[in-house]
Amino acid sequence: MLTALLILFPFLAALLVFFTKGNNARNMAMLFSVVEFVISMAAFFQFKNNPDSALLSFNTAWVPSLGIRLSAAIDGLSLLMVLLTTFLVPLIILSSYKNNYNTPNYFYGLILMMQMALVGVFVANDGFLFYVFWELALIPIYFICLLWGGENRSAITFKFFVYTLLGSLFMLIGLIYLYNHTNVEGLKSWAIRDLYEAGRSLTASQQSAVFWLIFIAFAIKMPIFPLHTWQPDTYVTAPTQGTMLLSGIMLKMGTFGVIKWLLPIVPLGLAKWGSTAICLSAIGVVYASIIAIQQKDFKRLIAYSSIAHVGLIAAGILAANQQGIQGAMMQMLAHGVNVIGLFFIAEILLQQTGTRDIPSLGGIRNLNANFAILFLIIVLGSVALPLTNGFVGEFLLINGIYQYNAGFAAFAGLTVILGAVYMLRGYQNIMLGEVKPSVHFGKLASTEKAVLVIICITIIAFGVYPKPLNDIAEQGTKAILQMMK
């Protein structure tokens, strides 16, 4: 019930918002997204009380003749992702309060649509439904980027759309292939359990093919080196709220997908190709980190840093052990929060100073100390300083990768150093030093402050006491590993 509500509510809210005029749309969207968060919290407590509660799942026929069902459930992994989504969307909406978008009803309606699709992706327990939501998530964000994006947006969002669509189609092929091998009393089925079984009944070479077919979709979404080149351009061009959606939540579709829709399906494929994929991920970590060092546009810098982070997450997931996957889950949460914080900072910089070009900024610390502190905390979360949310995940990730292969861990672990290099460089050049004459920076609006403060509190709170989420992640990981056996 709750699960269905989590999907349906944003959808209905989006419809309502579509037909609202003026800036009321924003307030309504804000209200609805908060309500959605409350619903997800209800789901959270329900899960804590009774993980098998019937409230957390639903399952009805959709296309019975093809074995397609509207089946969704909240397990530990999806709960975390849903919480992340419902937590970030209100922040993302709040972060837009200073902007005046034209046709706000469409803008906020699309955001809520996006939320619906994202929640759907995370809770779907039916392969087909998963795919439908997966594709569905692409459309609102495409329009958000296209209609409210920056320079050269049409070409860039185009590339993004076609690139990701291509990946998804490969995944569809892979999933259909699995579906074709399901056999539930003579019928085919899209249920996730049946797909797991079907996948494991395949031979090693078949599994390898399925592994790549499905992995490519996820790899493009995350993105993994060398399929990442759509990402920096798209992140830079998209409106900040779009970038936040893309990096904060949508990226997690890929990592989530690998955990839930790839690992348990193709153990043999993973055994054969896992190291290749981890290798690519690890290369991506270092590669993107090094590129980030010399970026001039702060938003682009964050974009590359995001590639680095997600590379580490992917490597951890593919290592497929308790620490790796759990660390990935924790890091997904942390990265979601941190990266939208950073993108919001970039947005504030642009609005206040008119530029995101790092060399032409400087000394903002002198003009607004509070902003500097908030910024610094987010930077620290991003470089995974202990007692910030980024640390738990990163430690577990490197740990997990180490258990897979010490060399990969040491290599990917370079992010610890390189991350500090580019983040501190960026921070220093923007905030510290004497004020450049061309730089003006006033007070933050109360909504901006609110967003940043909430993010900072989250960063520290879940760095110091990650237990509530960590327990869920631990259980979720155990469940996944159990299924892999």
Partner: protein, 628 residues
């Protein structure tokens, strides 16, 4: 009381929070007082805990605060360990920390970032306490990174100055290099032992293969190299002098930089097992000691000299650790904390008096003007130079004695280091306090003794520097080495001296003689002959110039690492990413288009051509289907 160990870090945290959130609303004095009092409170609790521990038979007390990270078999509670080692370090940190807090109230009085300074300082103490209190490697790592952060914040305290910011960033990044090693070490420990809790790991240490232990020990030592500024990761420490002087005293001399020593002592089990690792530690230590000492000879910045001296002394401590003299190193940490804090604070007082001037070439003749500072500085210099009776003499001698037992070569290098130390310290002393005043008139007019809040800590530290040696009187004097005894429960290999009393006496006298000779030489040069350091680099001889320029290590690093990284970044971005990978992606796109443009030409509009193509299609189909 031990159960309340969590209070120790809690107080500074409280101070930090109060200053962070309300610092702007309360007066400067109140803010400084709160900061100091919280540290004092921790100090008092530390003393109580120390006493309790000393009295009790059980030497290891684990205090669980809350459950932190659980991941399958990896269980990491937020747990504190009270044992002789941590309880001793608690005393040093909170004790010296308190004094420096008090000193700072005076020193930072006119700074606009006054409350911010105390905020950071409290935070530092908090993390430092976490570092020593943690019952597992990860809590230590938390503190470890946390102090790194505070160090970053405090070095870059005057954030308008780009050079300072660069120094801060450098410190953080160099520390991070070490931290990665530390982190991997921790992970290897987990992989090997299935736990990272001190109590469990050290019990199981014997079960693992020596090669694994060596790997662990070396990885941990990489961490220590970063934090304790050993070769090759030492260059951040001299730059760290960009921070306010109390910071240099507290963080970059007395406490944080000794974290590496603490960690190696904590993990002494591993180093005792692995000879490779302990030899590495000894060699790196002595190399650093000697290397930094030579650089110290030619520096003119009062704080830089002290900084290189710190690096050098830390190297000496690692030498001690490497030769298995763990308690001696802790002893030296303690005395070093006293006299180096004293020296730094004294230097701060001098700088304060000189209105910010740090170049000793522009000082001179301050003896009469700032008496208390001068006398306490003298005491500190005597202590560090190993003049008998003062604290430095005993601790250094103990290390050298153990080194002699281990290897004569290392001992000799250690001796040379301590002679160099004595020389440059006296050079500093003579040039600063004696001779003619070489500064401007304005400075001369401005000269004044510092306020009580600054001089009282100086005096207390001076007393400690004198009597600190009592903590570890040589065993062969028959007095019983208290430090050795105290740390006994936490150290695996007993470093009982096998040297004969005669040898020990000889070594001691040799050391004293060497120190005396060097001091005399310094006196000859700087007092009698009034030699002044040259003002221009060109006047130096080539070998002097190399040392004067710190062996060009920074430049080499710049050339070998930073520049290539920047270049690589640009190559990766502009060539590999944009041109190659994205080029391929876009190329596919434009390939589709250009192929489309070619294919569309077939659509010529001419009906004859269409028909011909159709027939050709039929021909091909028949040919391929039936006439294979």
């Amino acid at each position: 009381m031990i159960k309340l160990a969590a209070l120790i870090p809690l107080f500074p945290l409280l101070g930090f929070l109060i200053n962070a959130f309300f610092g702007k609303k309360i007066s400067k004095g109140l803010s400084g007082t709160i900061a100091s009092i919280t540290v004092l409170a921790s100090f008092i609790v530390s003393i109580l805990i120390f006493m309790e521990l000393h009295a009790s038979h059980e030497k290891q007390h684990v205090v669980n605060v809350f459950s932190w990270i659980n991941s399958g078999s990896l269980q990491i509670p937020f747990e504190f360990l009270i044992d002789p080692l941590s309880s001793w370090f608690l005393l040093i940190i909170t004790g010296i920390g308190f004094l420096i807090h008090v000193y700072s109230i005076g020193y930072m009085h006119d700074d606009e970032g006054f409350t911010r300074f105390f905020t950071y300082l409290n935070l530092f103490v908090f993390f430092m306490l976490l570092l020593v209190l943690g019952n597992n490697f990860l809590i230590t790592f938390v503190g470890w990174e946390g102090v790194g952060l505070c160090s970053y914040l405090l070095i870059g305290f005057w954030f308008k100055n780009t050079a300072y910011n660069n120094a801060a960033k450098k410190a953080f990044i160099m520390n991070r290099i070490g931290d990665l090693g530390f982190l991997l070490g921790i992970i290897l420990i987990f992989v090997t032992f299935g736990s990272i809790s001190y109590t469990e790991v050290f019990d199981k240490a014997g079960t693992a293969e020596t090669s694994t232990i060596t790997a662990i020990a070396l990885l941990l030592f990489i961490g220590a190299m970063g934090k304790s500024a050993q070769l090759p990761l030492y260059t951040w420490l001299p730059d760290a002098m960009a921070g306010p002087t109390p910071v240099s005293a507290l963080i970059h001399a007395a406490t944080m930089v000794t974290a590496g020593i603490f960690m190696v002592v904590r993990a002494n089990v591993f180093y005792s097992i692995s000879d490779v690792a302990s030899n590495t530690v000894a060699i790196v230590g002595v190399a650093t000691a000697l290397f930094a000492a030579t650089i110290g000879l030619f520096q003119n910045d009062i704080k830089k000299i002290l900084a290189y001296s710190t690096v050098s002394q830390l190297g000496l401590m690692f030498l001690g650790l490497g030769v298995g003299a763990f308690s001696s190193s802790v002893f030296h940490v303690t005395t070093h904390a006293f006299f180096k804090a004293l020296l730094f604070l004294g230097a701060g007082s001098v700088i304060h008096a000189m209105g910010g001037e740090q170049d000793i070439r522009k000082m001179g003749g301050l003896w009469g003007k700032i008496k208390i500072t001068a006398i306490t500085m003298l005491i500190g210099t005597l202590a560090i130079s190993g003049v008998p009776g003062l604290s430095g003499f005993f601790s250094k001698d103990e290390i050298l004695a153990h080194t002699y037992e281990h290897s004569k070569v290392l001992w000799l290098l250690g001796m040379i280091t301590s002679m160099l130390t004595a020389f440059y310290m006296f050079r500093l002393l003579f040039l600063t306090f004696f001779g003619k005043f070489r500064g401007t008139h304005e400075q001369e007019h401005h000269l004044h003794e510092s306020p009580f809040s600054m001089t009282v800590p100086l005096m207390i530290l001076a007393v400690l520097s004198i009597f600190g040696g009592l903590l570890g009187l040589p065993e062969f004097w028959g007095t019983g080495n208290w430090m050795h005894h105290h740390l006994d429960p936490v150290i695996l290999r007993k470093n009982d001296s096998v040297l004969s009393h005669e040898t020990e006496w000889t070594l001691m006298i040799l050391a004293v003689a060497a120190a005396a000779a060097v001091i005399l030489f310094a006196w000859m040069v700087y007092m009698k002959n009034r030699v002044l350091p040259v003002n221009k680099e060109e006047q130096l001889k080539p070998w002097q110039r190399v040392i004067y320029n710190k062996y060009y290590v920074d430049e080499i690093y710049d050339f070998l690492i930073r520049k290539p990284l920047d270049v690589l970044s640009n190559i990766f971005h502009k060539f590999l990413d944009v041109q190659l990978i994205d080029g391929i992606v876009n190329g596919i796109g434009s390939g589709v288009k250009s192929l489309g443009s070619v294919v569309r030409l077939a659509q010529s509009g001419n009906i004859g051509f269409y028909i011909t193509s159709m027939v050709l299609g039929v021909v091909l189909i028949i040919l391929l289907t039936f006439l294979k």
